[in-house]
Protein backbone atom coordinates (compact mmCIF):
# COMPACT_ATOMS: atom_id res chain seq x y z
CA UNK A 1 0.00 0.00 0.00
CA UNK A 2 2.76 2.35 -0.91
CA UNK A 3 0.66 4.43 -3.31
CA UNK A 4 -2.68 5.84 -2.33
CA UNK A 5 -5.39 6.59 -4.77
CA UNK A 6 -7.58 9.59 -4.13
CA UNK A 7 -10.26 7.24 -2.96
CA UNK A 8 -8.00 5.70 -0.33
CA UNK A 9 -6.94 9.09 0.75
CA UNK A 10 -10.52 10.22 0.95
CA UNK A 11 -11.49 7.17 2.98
CA UNK A 12 -8.68 7.73 5.43
CA UNK A 13 -9.64 11.37 5.74
CA UNK A 14 -13.29 10.56 6.35
CA UNK A 15 -12.46 8.07 9.06
CA UNK A 16 -9.72 9.82 10.91
CA UNK A 17 -10.06 13.58 10.35
CA UNK A 18 -12.19 13.99 13.49
CA UNK A 19 -9.61 12.03 15.45
CA UNK A 20 -6.79 14.24 14.17
CA UNK A 21 -8.79 17.40 14.85
CA UNK A 22 -9.46 16.20 18.38
CA UNK A 23 -5.86 15.28 18.95
CA UNK A 24 -4.66 18.68 17.72
CA UNK A 25 -7.12 20.44 20.01
CA UNK A 26 -5.88 18.42 22.99
CA UNK A 27 -2.32 19.34 22.03
CA UNK A 28 -3.22 22.97 22.47
CA UNK A 29 -3.79 24.03 18.87
CA UNK A 30 -6.20 26.95 18.61
CA UNK A 31 -9.62 26.28 17.15
CA UNK A 32 -9.04 28.64 14.26
CA UNK A 33 -5.90 26.75 13.25
CA UNK A 34 -7.16 23.18 13.59
CA UNK A 35 -8.49 22.88 10.05
CA UNK A 36 -5.24 24.11 8.49
CA UNK A 37 -3.21 21.64 10.50
CA UNK A 38 -5.57 18.77 9.70
CA UNK A 39 -4.95 19.52 6.04
CA UNK A 40 -1.22 19.54 6.59
CA UNK A 41 -1.29 16.24 8.47
CA UNK A 42 -3.19 14.41 5.73
CA UNK A 43 -1.09 16.01 3.03
CA UNK A 44 2.09 14.79 4.72
CA UNK A 45 0.56 11.35 5.18
CA UNK A 46 -0.36 11.22 1.51
CA UNK A 47 2.99 12.47 0.20
CA UNK A 48 4.85 10.15 2.54
CA UNK A 49 3.26 7.10 0.98
CA UNK A 50 0.40 6.75 3.39
CA UNK A 51 -0.25 4.40 6.22
CA UNK A 52 1.32 0.97 5.90
CA UNK A 53 -0.35 -1.73 7.96
CA UNK A 54 1.93 -2.79 10.80
CA UNK A 55 2.19 -2.73 14.56
CA UNK A 56 1.09 0.90 14.74
CA UNK A 57 -2.56 1.70 14.28
CA UNK A 58 -3.59 4.38 11.76
CA UNK A 59 -4.45 6.63 14.68
CA UNK A 60 -0.95 6.21 16.13
CA UNK A 61 0.60 6.92 12.76
CA UNK A 62 -1.52 10.02 12.20
CA UNK A 63 -0.95 11.16 15.76
CA UNK A 64 2.80 11.05 15.25
CA UNK A 65 2.47 13.37 12.24
CA UNK A 66 -0.01 15.57 14.06
CA UNK A 67 2.34 15.84 17.00
CA UNK A 68 5.08 17.25 14.76
CA UNK A 69 2.59 19.63 13.20
CA UNK A 70 1.34 20.77 16.59
CA UNK A 71 4.86 21.25 17.94
CA UNK A 72 5.88 23.39 14.99
CA UNK A 73 2.65 25.33 15.17
CA UNK A 74 3.06 25.93 18.87
CA UNK A 75 6.58 27.25 18.36
CA UNK A 76 5.44 29.63 15.64
CA UNK A 77 2.53 30.78 17.72
CA UNK A 78 4.72 31.46 20.72
CA UNK A 79 6.92 33.69 18.63
CA UNK A 80 3.90 35.60 17.35
CA UNK A 81 2.08 36.18 20.59
CA UNK A 82 1.82 34.84 24.08
CA UNK A 83 -1.78 35.94 24.38
CA UNK A 84 -4.30 33.23 23.77
CA UNK A 85 -7.58 34.35 22.33
CA UNK A 86 -10.63 33.73 24.44
CA UNK A 87 -12.12 31.89 21.52
CA UNK A 88 -9.23 29.47 21.55
CA UNK A 89 -9.69 28.55 25.16
CA UNK A 90 -13.04 27.00 24.42
CA UNK A 91 -12.53 23.71 22.75
CA UNK A 92 -14.06 22.79 19.47
CA UNK A 93 -16.25 20.27 21.16
CA UNK A 94 -19.89 20.03 20.30
CA UNK A 95 -22.19 17.30 19.23
CA UNK A 96 -25.45 17.95 17.51
CA UNK A 97 -26.96 14.87 19.11
CA UNK A 98 -26.52 16.32 22.60
CA UNK A 99 -28.88 18.68 24.29
CA UNK A 100 -27.74 22.31 24.59
CA UNK A 101 -27.23 21.90 28.31
CA UNK A 102 -25.16 18.79 27.94
CA UNK A 103 -23.27 20.34 25.07
CA UNK A 104 -22.41 23.36 27.20
CA UNK A 105 -21.33 21.12 30.03
CA UNK A 106 -19.13 19.15 27.67
CA UNK A 107 -17.56 22.37 26.39
CA UNK A 108 -16.81 23.51 29.89
CA UNK A 109 -15.22 20.21 30.77
CA UNK A 110 -13.05 20.25 27.70
CA UNK A 111 -12.02 23.84 28.40
CA UNK A 112 -10.95 22.78 31.87
CA UNK A 113 -9.20 19.72 30.47
CA UNK A 114 -7.23 21.88 28.05
CA UNK A 115 -6.20 24.19 30.85
CA UNK A 116 -4.95 21.26 32.88
CA UNK A 117 -3.12 19.87 29.86
CA UNK A 118 -1.48 23.27 29.36
CA UNK A 119 0.46 22.60 32.55
CA UNK A 120 2.30 19.75 30.82
CA UNK A 121 5.26 20.38 28.60
CA UNK A 122 4.99 19.17 25.04
CA UNK A 123 6.89 15.91 25.52
CA UNK A 124 4.80 14.80 28.45
CA UNK A 125 1.60 16.12 26.94
CA UNK A 126 1.80 14.05 23.80
CA UNK A 127 2.47 10.86 25.76
CA UNK A 128 -0.36 11.62 28.16
CA UNK A 129 -2.85 12.50 25.42
CA UNK A 130 -2.02 9.44 23.38
CA UNK A 131 -2.07 7.08 26.36
CA UNK A 132 -4.89 8.42 28.48
CA UNK A 133 -7.19 10.04 25.94
CA UNK A 134 -6.51 8.06 22.77
CA UNK A 135 -5.91 4.72 24.50
CA UNK A 136 -2.64 3.95 22.74
CA UNK A 137 -0.18 1.52 24.29
CA UNK A 138 3.01 2.99 25.67
CA UNK A 139 5.09 0.72 23.46
CA UNK A 140 3.37 2.04 20.34
CA UNK A 141 3.78 5.60 21.56
CA UNK A 142 7.49 5.05 22.11
CA UNK A 143 7.82 3.64 18.60
CA UNK A 144 6.13 6.50 16.81
CA UNK A 145 7.88 9.16 18.87
CA UNK A 146 11.25 7.48 18.45
CA UNK A 147 12.00 7.32 22.16
CA UNK A 148 12.89 4.40 24.44
CA UNK A 149 9.96 2.65 26.06
CA UNK A 150 11.29 3.40 29.53
CA UNK A 151 11.40 7.08 28.68
CA UNK A 152 7.80 6.94 27.50
CA UNK A 153 6.77 5.28 30.77
CA UNK A 154 8.62 7.81 32.89
CA UNK A 155 7.08 10.68 30.93
CA UNK A 156 3.65 9.17 31.41
CA UNK A 157 4.20 8.83 35.14
CA UNK A 158 5.43 12.40 35.45
CA UNK A 159 2.58 13.65 33.30
CA UNK A 160 0.00 11.85 35.44
CA UNK A 161 1.43 13.41 38.58
CA UNK A 162 1.39 16.93 37.14
CA UNK A 163 -2.08 16.39 35.68
CA UNK A 164 -3.44 15.22 39.01
CA UNK A 165 -1.93 18.13 40.92
CA UNK A 166 -2.94 20.76 38.40
CA UNK A 167 -6.48 19.45 38.23
CA UNK A 168 -6.66 19.67 42.01
CA UNK A 169 -5.56 23.28 41.95
CA UNK A 170 -7.81 24.29 39.08
CA UNK A 171 -10.79 22.67 40.72
CA UNK A 172 -10.44 25.21 43.51
CA UNK A 173 -10.32 28.18 41.19
CA UNK A 174 -13.41 30.27 42.06
CA UNK A 175 -13.82 31.72 38.55
CA UNK A 176 -14.67 28.36 37.06
CA UNK A 177 -18.23 27.25 37.45
CA UNK A 178 -17.21 23.77 36.54
CA UNK A 179 -14.51 23.96 39.17
CA UNK A 180 -17.16 24.66 41.78
CA UNK A 181 -19.25 21.78 40.58
CA UNK A 182 -16.28 19.47 40.47
CA UNK A 183 -15.40 20.58 43.95
CA UNK A 184 -18.84 19.58 45.15
CA UNK A 185 -18.54 16.25 43.40
CA UNK A 186 -15.09 15.69 44.85
CA UNK A 187 -16.22 16.37 48.41
Amino acid sequence: MSEWSHLDSAELFRRYAPFVANFLARMGVARSDVDDLVQEVFLVAHRGGGYAPGPAKPTTYLASIAFRAATTHRRKRQTRSFVKLADDVVSSAGDERNSPERDADQRRQLALLDRVLDALDTDKRVVFVMAELQGESVVAIAQVLGIPVDTAYSRLRAARKVFRETADVLRLEPTSALGERLQRVGT
Partner: protein, 373 residues
Protein backbone atom coordinates in the same frame (compact mmCIF):
# COMPACT_ATOMS: atom_id res chain seq x y z
CA UNK B 1 11.53 -3.48 30.51
CA UNK B 2 9.65 -1.24 32.88
CA UNK B 3 5.96 -1.76 33.07
CA UNK B 4 3.19 0.19 34.65
CA UNK B 5 0.77 -2.07 36.42
CA UNK B 6 -1.83 0.63 36.68
CA UNK B 7 -5.08 1.00 34.81
CA UNK B 8 -5.73 4.15 32.78
CA UNK B 9 -6.55 7.07 35.00
CA UNK B 10 -10.07 7.44 33.70
CA UNK B 11 -11.03 3.98 34.95
CA UNK B 12 -8.85 3.87 38.04
CA UNK B 13 -11.13 3.79 41.10
CA UNK B 14 -8.40 5.33 43.21
CA UNK B 15 -8.63 8.54 41.22
CA UNK B 16 -11.24 11.08 42.21
CA UNK B 17 -14.52 10.91 40.34
CA UNK B 18 -14.06 14.48 39.14
CA UNK B 19 -10.74 13.61 37.57
CA UNK B 20 -12.15 10.55 35.86
CA UNK B 21 -15.06 12.58 34.56
CA UNK B 22 -12.65 15.12 33.17
CA UNK B 23 -10.66 12.44 31.36
CA UNK B 24 -13.79 10.78 30.01
CA UNK B 25 -14.78 14.10 28.49
CA UNK B 26 -11.46 14.13 26.66
CA UNK B 27 -11.86 10.59 25.41
CA UNK B 28 -15.14 11.24 23.65
CA UNK B 29 -14.61 12.00 20.00
CA UNK B 30 -16.83 15.03 19.86
CA UNK B 31 -15.10 17.40 17.53
CA UNK B 32 -17.34 19.59 15.44
CA UNK B 33 -14.88 19.30 12.62
CA UNK B 34 -16.67 19.48 9.26
CA UNK B 35 -15.36 16.36 7.54
CA UNK B 36 -16.96 16.90 4.15
CA UNK B 37 -15.71 20.42 3.60
CA UNK B 38 -12.31 19.42 4.96
CA UNK B 39 -12.20 16.48 2.57
CA UNK B 40 -13.11 18.67 -0.38
CA UNK B 41 -10.27 21.02 0.50
CA UNK B 42 -7.89 18.10 0.94
CA UNK B 43 -8.69 16.61 -2.47
CA UNK B 44 -8.37 20.01 -4.08
CA UNK B 45 -4.93 20.39 -2.56
CA UNK B 46 -3.86 16.99 -3.85
CA UNK B 47 -5.08 17.77 -7.36
CA UNK B 48 -3.32 21.11 -7.30
CA UNK B 49 -0.08 19.37 -6.37
CA UNK B 50 0.32 21.14 -3.03
CA UNK B 51 3.76 20.84 -1.51
CA UNK B 52 4.51 19.27 1.84
CA UNK B 53 4.86 21.90 4.61
CA UNK B 54 8.32 23.00 5.63
CA UNK B 55 8.39 21.23 8.98
CA UNK B 56 7.73 17.87 7.31
CA UNK B 57 10.44 18.43 4.70
CA UNK B 58 13.00 19.29 7.35
CA UNK B 59 12.09 16.27 9.42
CA UNK B 60 12.36 13.96 6.44
CA UNK B 61 15.75 15.33 5.49
CA UNK B 62 17.06 15.20 9.02
CA UNK B 63 15.99 11.61 9.38
CA UNK B 64 17.49 10.37 6.15
CA UNK B 65 20.81 8.61 6.50
CA UNK B 66 22.27 10.19 3.39
CA UNK B 67 21.66 13.63 4.76
CA UNK B 68 23.35 12.71 8.03
CA UNK B 69 26.34 11.45 6.09
CA UNK B 70 26.48 14.66 4.09
CA UNK B 71 26.29 16.70 7.26
CA UNK B 72 29.39 14.93 8.50
CA UNK B 73 31.33 15.07 5.25
CA UNK B 74 30.58 18.47 3.76
CA UNK B 75 31.90 20.82 6.47
CA UNK B 76 35.37 19.23 6.59
CA UNK B 77 35.52 19.28 2.79
CA UNK B 78 34.63 22.97 2.70
CA UNK B 79 37.17 23.71 5.41
CA UNK B 80 39.87 21.84 3.51
CA UNK B 81 39.03 23.80 0.35
CA UNK B 82 39.22 27.13 2.14
CA UNK B 83 42.52 26.24 3.78
CA UNK B 84 43.91 25.07 0.44
CA UNK B 85 42.91 28.32 -1.23
CA UNK B 86 44.44 30.29 1.59
CA UNK B 87 47.70 28.37 1.33
CA UNK B 88 47.79 28.96 -2.43
CA UNK B 89 47.84 32.71 -1.85
CA UNK B 90 50.55 32.58 0.76
CA UNK B 91 53.81 34.43 -0.17
CA UNK B 92 56.94 32.44 -0.84
CA UNK B 93 59.02 34.26 1.79
CA UNK B 94 58.30 33.16 5.32
CA UNK B 95 56.87 35.76 7.63
CA UNK B 96 58.70 36.81 10.76
CA UNK B 97 57.72 34.52 13.55
CA UNK B 98 56.85 37.36 15.90
CA UNK B 99 54.18 38.64 13.55
CA UNK B 100 52.04 35.59 13.99
CA UNK B 101 48.93 35.55 11.84
CA UNK B 102 48.14 39.23 11.97
CA UNK B 103 49.25 41.37 9.08
CA UNK B 104 48.25 45.00 9.40
CA UNK B 105 48.38 47.52 6.61
CA UNK B 106 51.75 49.28 6.33
CA UNK B 107 52.05 53.03 6.71
CA UNK B 108 55.36 53.09 4.90
CA UNK B 109 55.92 51.46 1.53
CA UNK B 110 59.65 51.01 2.07
CA UNK B 111 59.11 48.93 5.10
CA UNK B 112 60.84 45.71 5.72
CA UNK B 113 59.58 42.20 5.73
CA UNK B 114 56.21 42.84 7.40
CA UNK B 115 55.02 44.95 4.49
CA UNK B 116 55.88 42.29 1.98
CA UNK B 117 53.24 40.02 3.41
CA UNK B 118 50.45 42.07 1.94
CA UNK B 119 52.07 43.21 -1.25
CA UNK B 120 49.18 43.85 -3.69
CA UNK B 121 50.47 41.48 -6.38
CA UNK B 122 50.36 38.55 -3.96
CA UNK B 123 46.89 39.19 -2.61
CA UNK B 124 43.79 37.86 -4.33
CA UNK B 125 41.66 40.55 -5.97
CA UNK B 126 38.59 39.72 -3.94
CA UNK B 127 39.07 39.15 -0.21
CA UNK B 128 38.37 35.59 0.81
CA UNK B 129 36.55 34.63 3.96
CA UNK B 130 39.84 33.77 5.65
CA UNK B 131 41.21 37.21 4.87
CA UNK B 132 38.05 38.83 6.12
CA UNK B 133 38.36 36.88 9.34
CA UNK B 134 41.98 37.89 9.68
CA UNK B 135 41.03 41.51 9.11
CA UNK B 136 38.36 41.39 11.77
CA UNK B 137 40.77 39.66 14.11
CA UNK B 138 43.33 42.39 13.49
CA UNK B 139 40.76 45.04 14.33
CA UNK B 140 39.84 43.19 17.45
CA UNK B 141 43.47 42.93 18.50
CA UNK B 142 43.94 46.66 17.89
CA UNK B 143 40.94 47.43 20.00
CA UNK B 144 42.19 45.22 22.83
CA UNK B 145 45.60 46.82 22.57
CA UNK B 146 44.13 50.29 22.88
CA UNK B 147 42.13 49.28 25.92
CA UNK B 148 45.15 47.72 27.57
CA UNK B 149 47.22 50.73 26.72
CA UNK B 150 44.76 52.99 28.50
CA UNK B 151 44.67 50.70 31.51
CA UNK B 152 48.46 50.57 31.61
CA UNK B 153 48.72 54.35 31.59
CA UNK B 154 46.33 54.48 34.52
CA UNK B 155 48.34 51.98 36.50
CA UNK B 156 51.56 53.82 35.83
CA UNK B 157 50.06 57.08 37.01
CA UNK B 158 48.91 55.67 40.33
CA UNK B 159 51.08 52.79 41.38
CA UNK B 160 54.71 53.74 41.03
CA UNK B 161 55.13 57.14 42.60
CA UNK B 162 57.51 55.71 45.18
CA UNK B 163 59.80 54.18 42.62
CA UNK B 164 60.47 56.96 40.17
CA UNK B 165 61.99 60.32 41.05
CA UNK B 166 59.13 62.75 41.13
CA UNK B 167 60.96 65.50 39.30
CA UNK B 168 61.96 63.28 36.41
CA UNK B 169 58.62 61.67 35.86
CA UNK B 170 56.56 64.28 33.94
CA UNK B 171 59.24 64.91 31.37
CA UNK B 172 60.30 61.39 30.72
CA UNK B 173 57.27 59.21 31.22
CA UNK B 174 55.94 59.23 27.71
CA UNK B 175 59.29 58.79 26.05
CA UNK B 176 60.33 56.02 28.35
CA UNK B 177 57.10 54.19 27.80
CA UNK B 178 57.51 54.44 24.10
CA UNK B 179 61.08 53.32 24.30
CA UNK B 180 60.15 50.38 26.40
CA UNK B 181 57.55 49.30 23.90
CA UNK B 182 59.96 49.71 21.06
CA UNK B 183 62.70 47.72 22.65
CA UNK B 184 60.26 45.07 23.69
CA UNK B 185 59.07 44.66 20.15
CA UNK B 186 62.59 44.35 18.84
CA UNK B 187 63.52 41.82 21.44
CA UNK B 188 60.20 40.01 21.60
CA UNK B 189 60.73 36.31 21.60
CA UNK B 190 59.56 34.41 18.58
CA UNK B 191 57.32 32.24 20.68
CA UNK B 192 55.05 34.60 22.52
CA UNK B 193 52.62 32.03 23.87
CA UNK B 194 50.05 32.42 21.16
CA UNK B 195 49.69 36.16 21.36
CA UNK B 196 50.46 38.21 18.30
CA UNK B 197 52.58 41.25 17.86
CA UNK B 198 51.38 44.01 15.61
CA UNK B 199 53.90 46.21 13.89
CA UNK B 200 52.59 49.34 12.27
CA UNK B 201 55.72 51.07 11.00
CA UNK B 202 59.40 51.43 11.57
CA UNK B 203 61.92 54.15 10.85
CA UNK B 204 63.90 53.88 7.70
CA UNK B 205 67.21 53.80 9.58
CA UNK B 206 66.28 50.51 11.10
CA UNK B 207 66.15 51.77 14.65
CA UNK B 208 62.79 51.51 16.28
CA UNK B 209 61.33 54.96 16.79
CA UNK B 210 59.04 53.52 19.36
CA UNK B 211 56.04 55.67 18.57
CA UNK B 212 54.15 53.21 16.47
CA UNK B 213 55.11 49.85 17.77
CA UNK B 214 52.78 48.01 20.03
CA UNK B 215 52.77 44.54 21.35
CA UNK B 216 50.76 42.19 23.47
CA UNK B 217 52.27 39.27 25.25
CA UNK B 218 50.93 36.71 27.58
CA UNK B 219 51.30 37.25 31.27
CA UNK B 220 52.35 34.08 32.93
CA UNK B 221 54.86 34.94 35.62
CA UNK B 222 55.33 37.27 38.55
CA UNK B 223 58.72 38.75 39.37
CA UNK B 224 60.09 40.26 42.51
CA UNK B 225 59.28 43.83 43.39
CA UNK B 226 62.91 44.87 43.40
CA UNK B 227 63.36 43.74 39.80
CA UNK B 228 60.30 45.70 38.76
CA UNK B 229 61.45 48.84 40.51
CA UNK B 230 64.91 48.61 39.04
CA UNK B 231 63.53 48.11 35.57
CA UNK B 232 61.16 51.04 35.85
CA UNK B 233 63.82 53.32 37.31
CA UNK B 234 66.15 52.49 34.45
CA UNK B 235 63.40 53.13 32.01
CA UNK B 236 62.40 56.54 33.37
CA UNK B 237 65.69 58.11 34.37
CA UNK B 238 67.67 57.17 31.28
CA UNK B 239 68.11 60.09 28.88
CA UNK B 240 66.21 60.07 25.64
CA UNK B 241 68.76 59.73 22.92
CA UNK B 242 69.40 57.51 19.94
CA UNK B 243 71.95 55.67 21.96
CA UNK B 244 69.40 54.96 24.61
CA UNK B 245 67.06 53.56 22.01
CA UNK B 246 69.49 50.83 21.16
CA UNK B 247 68.49 47.44 22.48
CA UNK B 248 69.46 47.17 26.12
CA UNK B 249 71.12 44.14 27.63
CA UNK B 250 68.88 41.14 27.70
CA UNK B 251 68.45 41.04 31.45
CA UNK B 252 67.18 44.64 31.71
CA UNK B 253 64.87 44.25 28.76
CA UNK B 254 63.53 41.07 30.13
CA UNK B 255 62.87 42.78 33.43
CA UNK B 256 61.03 45.59 31.66
CA UNK B 257 59.00 43.13 29.72
CA UNK B 258 58.06 41.18 32.81
CA UNK B 259 57.23 44.36 34.69
CA UNK B 260 54.91 45.51 31.93
CA UNK B 261 53.23 42.15 31.80
CA UNK B 262 52.61 42.32 35.51
CA UNK B 263 51.04 45.76 35.14
CA UNK B 264 48.76 44.59 32.38
CA UNK B 265 47.71 41.65 34.43
CA UNK B 266 47.04 43.81 37.44
CA UNK B 267 44.92 46.28 35.52
CA UNK B 268 42.89 43.60 33.78
CA UNK B 269 42.43 41.56 36.91
CA UNK B 270 41.66 44.66 38.94
CA UNK B 271 38.78 45.67 36.69
CA UNK B 272 37.37 42.15 36.66
CA UNK B 273 37.80 41.79 40.39
CA UNK B 274 35.86 44.98 41.04
CA UNK B 275 32.98 43.82 38.85
CA UNK B 276 32.98 40.41 40.48
CA UNK B 277 33.04 41.99 43.90
CA UNK B 278 30.01 44.17 43.15
CA UNK B 279 27.96 41.38 41.59
CA UNK B 280 29.01 38.99 44.36
CA UNK B 281 27.86 41.44 47.02
CA UNK B 282 24.50 41.89 45.31
CA UNK B 283 24.04 38.16 45.00
CA UNK B 284 24.92 37.64 48.63
CA UNK B 285 22.45 40.31 49.73
CA UNK B 286 19.71 38.82 47.58
CA UNK B 287 20.34 35.33 48.91
CA UNK B 288 20.34 36.55 52.50
CA UNK B 289 17.05 38.36 52.03
CA UNK B 290 15.51 35.25 50.54
CA UNK B 291 16.90 33.03 53.30
CA UNK B 292 15.49 35.31 56.00
CA UNK B 293 12.14 35.47 54.20
CA UNK B 294 11.99 31.68 54.17
CA UNK B 295 13.07 31.38 57.80
CA UNK B 296 10.45 33.75 59.18
CA UNK B 297 7.70 32.47 56.91
CA UNK B 298 5.85 30.66 59.68
CA UNK B 299 6.42 33.03 62.60
CA UNK B 300 6.26 36.38 60.84
CA UNK B 301 4.68 36.04 57.36
CA UNK B 302 4.18 39.79 57.06
CA UNK B 303 7.90 40.35 57.36
CA UNK B 304 8.56 37.51 54.94
CA UNK B 305 6.20 39.09 52.41
CA UNK B 306 7.81 42.48 52.91
CA UNK B 307 11.26 41.03 52.33
CA UNK B 308 10.11 39.30 49.16
CA UNK B 309 8.59 42.48 47.76
CA UNK B 310 11.67 44.46 48.63
CA UNK B 311 13.85 41.82 47.02
CA UNK B 312 11.75 41.88 43.87
CA UNK B 313 12.02 45.65 43.63
CA UNK B 314 15.78 45.51 44.09
CA UNK B 315 16.61 42.42 42.03
CA UNK B 316 13.81 42.25 39.50
CA UNK B 317 14.17 39.39 37.05
CA UNK B 318 17.10 37.81 38.86
CA UNK B 319 17.76 34.09 39.03
CA UNK B 320 15.95 33.87 42.38
CA UNK B 321 12.87 35.71 41.19
CA UNK B 322 10.65 32.64 40.94
CA UNK B 323 11.87 31.31 44.27
CA UNK B 324 11.05 34.66 45.86
CA UNK B 325 7.60 34.69 44.29
CA UNK B 326 6.70 31.30 45.73
CA UNK B 327 7.83 32.40 49.20
CA UNK B 328 5.63 35.49 48.83
CA UNK B 329 2.67 33.30 47.83
CA UNK B 330 3.24 31.04 50.82
CA UNK B 331 3.39 34.12 53.02
CA UNK B 332 0.05 35.25 51.64
CA UNK B 333 -1.43 31.87 52.49
CA UNK B 334 0.01 32.07 55.97
CA UNK B 335 -1.50 35.54 56.36
CA UNK B 336 -4.91 34.12 55.48
CA UNK B 337 -5.11 35.84 52.09
CA UNK B 338 -5.79 32.56 50.36
CA UNK B 339 -7.93 33.93 47.55
CA UNK B 340 -5.30 36.45 46.56
CA UNK B 341 -2.63 33.75 46.73
CA UNK B 342 -4.69 31.48 44.46
CA UNK B 343 -5.35 34.27 42.01
CA UNK B 344 -1.65 34.95 41.63
CA UNK B 345 -0.45 31.43 42.25
CA UNK B 346 -2.40 29.45 39.65
CA UNK B 347 -0.89 31.21 36.63
CA UNK B 348 2.44 31.10 38.37
CA UNK B 349 2.18 27.34 38.86
CA UNK B 350 1.25 27.00 35.24
CA UNK B 351 4.51 28.67 34.35
CA UNK B 352 6.50 26.56 36.82
CA UNK B 353 4.69 23.24 37.01
CA UNK B 354 7.70 21.13 37.91
CA UNK B 355 9.89 23.30 40.09
CA UNK B 356 11.17 21.76 43.33
CA UNK B 357 8.78 23.90 45.35
CA UNK B 358 5.74 23.51 43.06
CA UNK B 359 4.22 20.61 44.98
CA UNK B 360 4.40 22.46 48.30
CA UNK B 361 2.89 25.59 46.80
CA UNK B 362 0.11 23.58 45.17
CA UNK B 363 -0.72 21.99 48.48
CA UNK B 364 -0.71 25.36 50.22
CA UNK B 365 -3.02 26.89 47.62
CA UNK B 366 -5.30 23.88 47.68
CA UNK B 367 -5.63 23.47 51.44
CA UNK B 368 -5.20 27.11 52.43
CA UNK B 369 -2.63 26.08 55.02
CA UNK B 370 1.12 26.22 54.97
CA UNK B 371 2.48 22.68 54.64
CA UNK B 372 5.61 21.58 56.44
CA UNK B 373 8.75 22.14 54.40
Amino acid sequence: MTDIHEPPMWEDPQESSALRQLLRAGRVENSDYDVESGLARHLAQLQAGAQVPGWAVQTTLQKSASWSLLAWLVPPAISAGVVGAWLAFQPAAPAPASLGNFVPAPSNASNAPAAELIEPARVAPAPTRVEADRSSETKEVKRVLEEREAAREQVELHDHSNVVARSARPATRQNSTRRARSSHFEDAPATSNGYAAVAQSRDSNGVGAGSSVTSVTSVTSVTSKSANEEALANKVIAPVSPAAQEPAPASVEEAKSVERRAKEDESANGANAKEDEVSGARLEREMRMLAVAQRVLTEDPARSLRLCRQGESEFRGSMFSAERKQVALLALVQLGKVEQARREGIPFLRAYPNAPWSARLREALGTGKLPAP
